[in-house]
C-alpha cells in the first residue's frame, strides 16, 4: 500500500489546508469574523453547516488514495469495506439480502444497537464541546450545531451497523451496492461545486477589478470579452469544450496511462471548463462594485498619499469586494452540483467510470420502466444529492443575508 494522490486529490487537500489557515486568520480579524459569526448565530444555518461538513468529511476521506496493486483505494473505501466486498449477482431491493447467509439479525435490533452506540460514543465529545462553549463568550448557535452533529453521528453509526449486514439502498444491475456508489459520488459532487469556483475566481477577480479600476479601453475590452462569453448558450459551450477534451484525451493515450488518470483529468477539465465559461457573472458584479469603490474617499486619500495602483487594488479595493465573492461562491455551489447531473445526461459530464450522482441517475432512469419497478438506485442518488443541495441552498441564503450590506 503506497500513498498515491491523484492530481485532484492534491488540489483538494491544498484547498482544505488553505481553508484551515483562512479559518484561523479570519478568527483573528474581528471585522472578517463578524459576518461569519452572524451566519452561525442563526440556528438553521448552523444546522446546515454541520450537515455540509459531514459531506465534506466524506469527500475528504475519499480524497486520500492508496495504490493497492493496480487498484486505487481511498481511506473511505477502507472505512466502509463491507459495502464494496459483498456484491450480489444482480438487482436486489434494499434490506432484502442478508450478508451472512441463514442467520439473520433483524433490522430493528440493528437500529437500536446502532442508535445506542451512537449516543454512547458521542457523549464524551459532546461533554468536551459543552465545556468549551460554556466558557467562551461567542453567541454562535452551538447548541443546535451540537444537537445536529449528534443526530447525524447517530444516523451514521446506525447506517454503519445496518450496512454491515444489509444493502441499505439495494444493489444495481451488476450487483454493486448503491449505498457505496452514492457515498463515492459525494466526492465528485463536492469537487465540481468547489473546484469550479477555484477556476472562476482568478478570471473574475483579475478582470473585474482591472475593468472597474482602470476604466477606458481596458474596461471596454473586458466588457466585450465577458459579453461574448455569456452570449454563447452555456450548456452548448460546455458540451463543445468537453467534446474537445475527449478528443484530446483519446488522441494522446500516452499522457494518461491509467483509467483513473484519464477519469481524473476529465473531472478536472470539466471543472476548468465550467469555471472558464462561468466567470462572466461574478466579473460583472465585481466590475460594478469596483467602479463605485474607485470614487470613494479612502481610495482618493491613498492616491494622494502616493500609493501605487497595485497596492490600492490589493489593499483597498479587494477586501471591500470580498463579500460579493463569498456570496457568489456559496450561491453557485448548489447550482453546480445540480448541473453535474444534467451534464451527465447530455453526455458531457464526468467520465462514465467516475462514480457521480449524474451517472447514477443517468444509468438508472430507465429502470423505473421495469417490472417490478427498480426505484432504489435512483433513490440512492437523489436522497444524498437532495440533502447536500438543500443544505447548501439554505446555508447560502444566510451567508447572503449576513454579508450583504444592503440587508
Amino acid at each position: 500500500m503506497i500513498l498515491h494522490l491523484l492530481l485532484s486529490d492534491k488540489i483538494v487537500l491544498t484547498l482544505f489546508a488553505g481553508c484551515i489557515l483562512a479559518f484561523f486568520y479570519i478568527r483573528a480579524q474581528p471585522h472578517y469574523a463578524k459576518p461569519w459569526e452572524k451566519v452561525f448565530r442563526n440556528s438553521i444555518a448552523t444546522m446546515m453547516a454541520v450537515t455540509l461538513s459531514v459531506y465534506a468529511v466524506i469527500g475528504l476521506l475519499d480524497c486520500i488514495h492508496f495504490q493497492h496493486g493496480t487498484q486505487l483505494t481511498s481511506v473511505l473505501d477502507i472505512l466502509i469495506t463491507p459495502l464494496n466486498s459483498h456484491d450480489e449477482k444482480t438487482y436486489s431491493a434494499p434490506f432484502s439480502v442478508f450478508f451472512n447467509g441463514e442467520q439473520t439479525i433483524s433490522i430493528s435490533t440493528l437500529i437500536v444497537k446502532g442508535a445506542l452506540t451512537g449516543i454512547i460514543s458521542f457523549a464524551p465529545l459532546a461533554a468536551v464541546m459543552i465545556y468549551f462553549f460554556k466558557k467562551s463568550t461567542s453567541l454562535i448557535a452551538w447548541k443546535t450545531g451540537l444537537i445536529t452533529a449528534g443526530i447525524l453521528w447517530m444516523l451514521m453509526i446506525t447506517t454503519t451497523f445496518l450496512a454491515q449486514h444489509y444493502h441499505v439502498f439495494g444493489t444495481n444491475q451488476i450487483g454493486q451496492d448503491m449505498f457505496y456508489q452514492t457515498l463515492k459520488s459525494v466526492r465528485t459532487g463536492l469537487l465540481i461545486g468547489t473546484l469550479t469556483t477555484l477556476f472562476t475566481l482568478p478570471f473574475a477577480l483579475f478582470f473585474g477589478l482591472i475593468a472597474g479600476y482602470f476604466g477606458g479601453i481596458v474596461d471596454d475590452v473586458i466588457q466585450y470579452l465577458y459579453t461574448t462569453l455569456s452570449a454563447i448558450p452555456g450548456v452548448l459551450l460546455i458540451a463543445a469544450a468537453v467534446l474537445m477534451i475527449e478528443v484530446i484525451i483519446t488522441n494522446h493515450p500516452n499522457t494518461f496511462p491509467t483509467n483513473a488518470d484519464r477519469a481524473d483529468t476529465r473531472l478536472l477539465a470539466l471543472c476548468a471548463i465550467l469555471g472558464i465559461t462561468g466567470w462572466a457573472g461574478l466579473c460583472r458584479y465585481l466590475r460594478a462594485e469596483t467602479l463605485k469603490l474607485r470614487e470613494q474617499d479612502f481610495v482618493t486619500a491613498s492616491i494622494t498619499m502616493g500609493a501605487s495602483k497595485l497596492s490600492i487594488i490589493l489593499r483597498h479595493v479587494l477586501p471591500n469586494v470580498m463579500h460579493i465573492v463569498i456570496i457568489t461562491l456559496v450561491l453557485d455551489f448548489s447550482g453546480l452540483v445540480l448541473a453535474e447531473a444534467v451534464l451527465a445526461y447530455v453526455g458531457v459530464g464526468v467520465d462514465p467510470t467516475t462514480p457521480s450522482w449524474g451517472n447514477m441517475i443517468n444509468t438508472s432512469r430507465l429502470e423505473l420502466a421495469r417490472d417490478p419497478v427498480v426505484w432504489w438506485p435512483l433513490c440512492a442518488a437523489l436522497v444524498l444529492m437532495f440533502f447536500l443541495v438543500l443544505a447548501a441552498n439554505i446555508f447560502a441564503d444566510s451567508v447572503r443575508d449576513a454579508f450583504d450590506p444592503k440587508q
Binding site: 463543445a240 478528443v247 483519446t250 445540480l338 447531473a341
Partner: protein, 325 residues
C-alpha cells in the same frame, strides 16, 4: 430610438465575430480536421490517404487561417476560417455529417420546440407571479415561511427527478398521457401536457422565490403607502399597483429568454423524444457531429443578443420614463 437600435445591432457584429472565433478555435484548432477524420474513420489503421479523402469530401481540405499557395485576397478568403464563418453569418449552414441539410432540419424542428417552450413559459410565469403575490400578501406569516421552505426544497431537487418522477407517476402508474413521443398538428396536445406540466412544476421553486424578492422590494416603495393610505384593500394594492410596477424588473428576465425559446430545452425534449431543436442538439453532441453543434452555438448567440435588444425595446413600451438614446 431607431438610431439607438441601429447602433445596438451594429454592436452585435463584434460579439458575433468573437463567438465565431471561439467556436472556430474550439472546433477546428484544438481539434484539427485530421483529428476529426481519425475520429470518424475509427481510431486505428487510418492511412494518410483516407484522411485526405475524408477531408476532401467534407470540404475541410484547406488551411485554417492563411493560404500561402494563393494570390491576393484569396490568401485569406480561401481558408477554412473564412469559408466557415461567412457561411454561418449568411445562415448557410450546410450539411450534417449524415448528409442532411441543416437549414431544413432546423426549420422543421423549430415548431415542436416552440410548442413546449411557449406554454411552459406562459403558464410558469402566471403560476409563479400569482404565488409570489400571494406570499407577499401574507408576508411574515406562517404561510410565507412554509411556502418559502417548500420553494427551497423544490429548488434543491434535481430537475431530472421531476421528469423521471413525472413520467413514472402520470404515464406509467396513472396512464393518463403517453410516456413520450410526438404527433404533428393538433394531436400533439396529449404529448405536450406532461412536459409542460413538469416544466412548470420544476420552475416553481426558483421562480416564486425570485418574484417574491421583486414584489417585497416593490412593496416598500412610497406609492404603495399612498395607495394604502387612500384606503385601498391590500389585495387591490398588490394585484393592481404593485403588479404593474413590478412588471419592469420581471420583463428584464423574461424578454431575454423569449428568442432562446426557439432553441428548445435540451433535457425535456430528449426525455420525451420530441423532435425539436433541443433533442437535435443532444443527438448531435452524442454523435459528435460538430457541424450541427457549431450551428446551434451560433444560433443560440444570435437569439440571446436578439433577446437583449428586445428587452431594451420592451422597456420603452412599458415605462414611458425610459428613453433610448
Amino acid at each position: 430610438m431607431i438610431a439607438y437600435l441601429f447602433r445596438r445591432i451594429l454592436y452585435t457584429i463584434p460579439i458575433l465575430i468573437g463567438v465565431n472565433v471561439i467556436t472556430f478555435v474550439l472546433f477546428f484548432m484544438v481539434n484539427t480536421p485530421d483529428d476529426m477524420a481519425r475520429m470518424q474513420l475509427g481510431q486505428k489503421h487510418v492511412t494518410a490517404n483516407e484522411i485526405r479523402q475524408w477531408k476532401m469530401e467534407k470540404g475541410y481540405d484547406k488551411p485554417l487561417f492563411y493560404n500561402a499557395d494563393k494570390n491576393g485576397f484569396e490568401k485569406i478568403t480561401d481558408t477554412l476560417f473564412y469559408i466557415k464563418s461567412t457561411d454561418l453569418f449568411l445562415f448557410r449552414f450546410g450539411q450534417s455529417d449524415q448528409g442532411r441539410n441543416i437549414n431544413h432540419d432546423i426549420f422543421q424542428r423549430m415548431w415542436p420546440s416552440l410548442a413546449i417552450a411557449v406554454p411552459t413559459l406562459m403558464i410558469g410565469l402566471a403560476v409563479n407571479i400569482t404565488l409570489a403575490l400571494l406570499i407577499a400578501l401574507f408576508r411574515g406569516s406562517m404561510f410565507d415561511r412554509t411556502t418559502m421552505m417548500t420553494c427551497v426544497a423544490m429548488m434543491s431537487i434535481s430537475g431530472l427527478f421531476y421528469i423521471i418522477g413525472g413520467q413514472f407517476l402520470f404515464s406509467k402508474l396513472l396512464k393518463l398521457v403517453p410516456i413520450s413521443g410526438y404527433n404533428p398538428g393538433w394531436n400533439a396536445y396529449k404529448f405536450l401536457i406532461l412536459p409542460v406540466l413538469i416544466g412548470v412544476i420544476g420552475g416553481i421553486g426558483a421562480g416564486t422565490r425570485w418574484y417574491r424578492t421583486i414584489m417585497i422590494e416593490e412593496i416598500h416603495k412610497d406609492y404603495v403607502k399612498t395607495a394604502r393610505a387612500k384606503g385601498l384593500s391590500e389585495f387591490t394594492v398588490l394585484f393592481k399597483h404593485v403588479l404593474k410596477n413590478a412588471m419592469l424588473p420581471i420583463l428584464t428576465g423574461v424578454v431575454v429568454i423569449i428568442p432562446t425559446l426557439f432553441m428548445g430545452s435540451l433535457i425535456m425534449e430528449s426525455f420525451f423524444s420530441i423532435p425539436g431543436l433541443g433533442s437535435y442538439t443532444i443527438d448531435a453532441i452524442g454523435q459528435q457531429d460538430f457541424n450541427i453543434v457549431r450551428v446551434m452555438v451560433f444560433l443560440g448567440t444570435v437569439f440571446y443578443i436578439g433577446g437583449l435588444i428586445l428587452t431594451d425595446i420592451s422597456y420603452v413600451l412599458v415605462d414611458p420614463r425610459v428613453k433610448l438614446e
